[in-house]
Amino acid sequence: MGSIQLKSVKKAFGAVSVINGIDLGIENGEFAVFVGPSGCGKSTLLRLIAGLEDVTSGQVLIDGKDATNIGPSKRGLAMVFQSYALYPHMSVRGNIAFALKMAGQGADVIEQKVRKAAATLNLTDYLDRKPRQLSGGQRQRVAIGRAIVREPKAFLFDEPLSNLDAALRVQMRVEIGELHNALKTTMIYVTHDQVEAMTMADKIVVLDRGSVAQVGSPLELYNRPNGLFVAGFIGSPTMNMIRGPSAEKRGAATIGIRPEHADISTTAGEWPATVRLAEHLGSDTFVHAEADGIGPLTLRLEGEAPLHPDQRIFVTPREAHLHKFDKDGKRIG
């Protein structure tokens, strides 16, 4: 079991309000990702759930029970920190076993559970090493191992991959995903990286300046962002935002079109433009173009596209994929 509900949770540090009243439910077994730019309050929100910070007002419910005034050590949650926060003076074994020792479990049980966790995470050969003797990826696994032996109600991840290099990050992303499939335990994962959010989440919670901007599945957010903020934040490369006559004639203040949802022609189309740069990735081509009277556009074409700088092109958005926003940045339709 491990459902988590937040009821009008607010957090202020002194006069500075960091979380402005958040209502949110996370179902048992769900993989929820909090995503947003730095300073949006996502880590604070996670720490409120963990109990490492007090809420200023509102309630945190774990499994339907009010946990607002319960200390972090009694909430039954496990956390993986950005810095890993391994105990440097303990071996890998000691690190993984610590929570079990604190829970007063017997030596046999502890050893058995540590071995099982180590086997799952490919750490068996390293059990007697100290954290400083491990690579970044191994440390990350120890941090995860420390969390899973406790069989917590939910796992909390605070930007766990941001200290790893790109290749390792992809690998760990897959491993955490597999872990979730195997354990079926609730996971809450904080990241500023929308790719991590898109690839891992069942449910994404986009945060903006201390409030929830939108909650939904990755595809919901991709297909129907409810406002300019989410539209701009989700998807890579970012959505092209166009104001002016093109938007007005469609009855919107701003229209958005994703790079992959526009067609390019060398002869005719809605927006004449000049190619600035074409990035050939093999599988795709990213085209950076300057549209006349509109500004820069980024376009994504499948496969090889024979384009070169200074070439004149015509860009036409696919109407079905067009996003319309009103003057307040809200989605229309």
Partner: protein, 290 residues
């Protein structure tokens, strides 16, 4: 950034220290203030009466007090000048790429670890004794009469001993500060054609200025309370020549048994120290921001 629980725990855990220190600071201070307003002699303990500020006026107008104040200032200022200037020179020397730097550091810092009573007695006897001391032998070898240190130059003798104790402290701290001067700055200065003197004046001195301030202030705190060295060498004499304020208070209390007068002296010492402490706390406090 913490929870109510940790904040509460923090208060509880810090409480014993705060209470102990508060009691340690306030109880003696209040008692000293109280005693300082009494005529109270241990020789006549049944005859205690309130005399107001009389002890202070007596203490402040006592020529012994003025002498002690003067001696205190002479001792503090002389030792400060010697240890800071000497410390800068020693630190500059130790900062050079010399052979055996680590051993040198150990030798230079050693006097700081010597028990004050030991240094005082070793200097008084083994080195400064006019008959058999090493200095007497050196003077005679050079054809001079040995200096009769503690009779003719009592204050200077105490200053020499205390300076020897504090020179290592200044050297060590200034050396630490010097070593944090980065190589690039040194190289830039040498490329700019700075000579040793302007290099010292424009680069080194500003860099270690804060460390010098810290040395001066901390030494002042300790030097205002020099006691053991005087206790075992001159006992404040000859006459009052080496009696500083701590020693005067000690004499008044435990040799003359005048509790009232000694307490007034103690309060005056506290006021003096607080003037210094005021500046020290501000400087270290500013440092906390970083």
């Amino acid at each position: 950034m913490a929870t109510q629980q940790t904040t509460t725990a923090g208060r509880v855990l810090v409480a014993p220290s705060v209470i102990l220190l508060f009691v340690w600071m306030i109880v003696p201070l209040v008692m000293t203030l109280y005693f300082s307003s009494l005529r109270y002699s241990l020789l006549d303990p049944d005859n205690v009466s309130f005399v107001g500020l009389q002890n202070y006026t007596a203490f402040l107008t006592d020529p012994d007090f003025l002498t002690a104040l003067y001696n205190t200032l002479v001792l503090v200022i002389s030792v400060l000048i010697i240890s800071v200037c000497g410390g800068i020179l020693v630190a500059l020397l130790m900062d050079q790429p010399v052979f055996g730097q680590n051993v040198l550091r150990l030798m230079v810092i050693a006097p700081f670890f010597v028990i004050p009573t030991v240094s005082a007695l070793v200097w008084k006897n083994l080195l400064m004794n006019p008959d058999s001391g090493l200095f007497a032998w050196i003077a005679r070898s050079l054809g001079f009469d040995p200096i009769v240190w503690f009779t003719n130059w009592p204050m200077l003798s105490v200053i020499v001993i205390v300076s020897w104790e504090w020179l290592p402290f200044a050297s060590l701290i200034l050396l630490t500060a010097l070593q944090s001067l980065d190589e690039e700055q040194k190289e830039a200065a040498s490329l700019d054609g700075a000579g040793p003197i302007s290099y010292f004046g424009y680069i080194v001195l500003p860099h270690i200025a804060r460390a010098i301030t810290v040395v001066i202030l901390i030494e002042t705190i300790f030097l205002l309370s020099v006691f053991a060295e005087i206790y075992v060498t001159t006992a404040g004499g000859p006459g009052n020549a080496t009696t500083n304020i701590p020693f005067l208070v000690y004499k008044q209390a435990l040799l003359n048994f005048d509790i009232g007068g000694a307490s007034a002296g103690g309060i005056i010492a506290v006021i003096l120290a607080n003037i210094v402490a005021f500046f020290l706390v501000r400087i270290i406090g500013r440092n906390l921001e970083g």
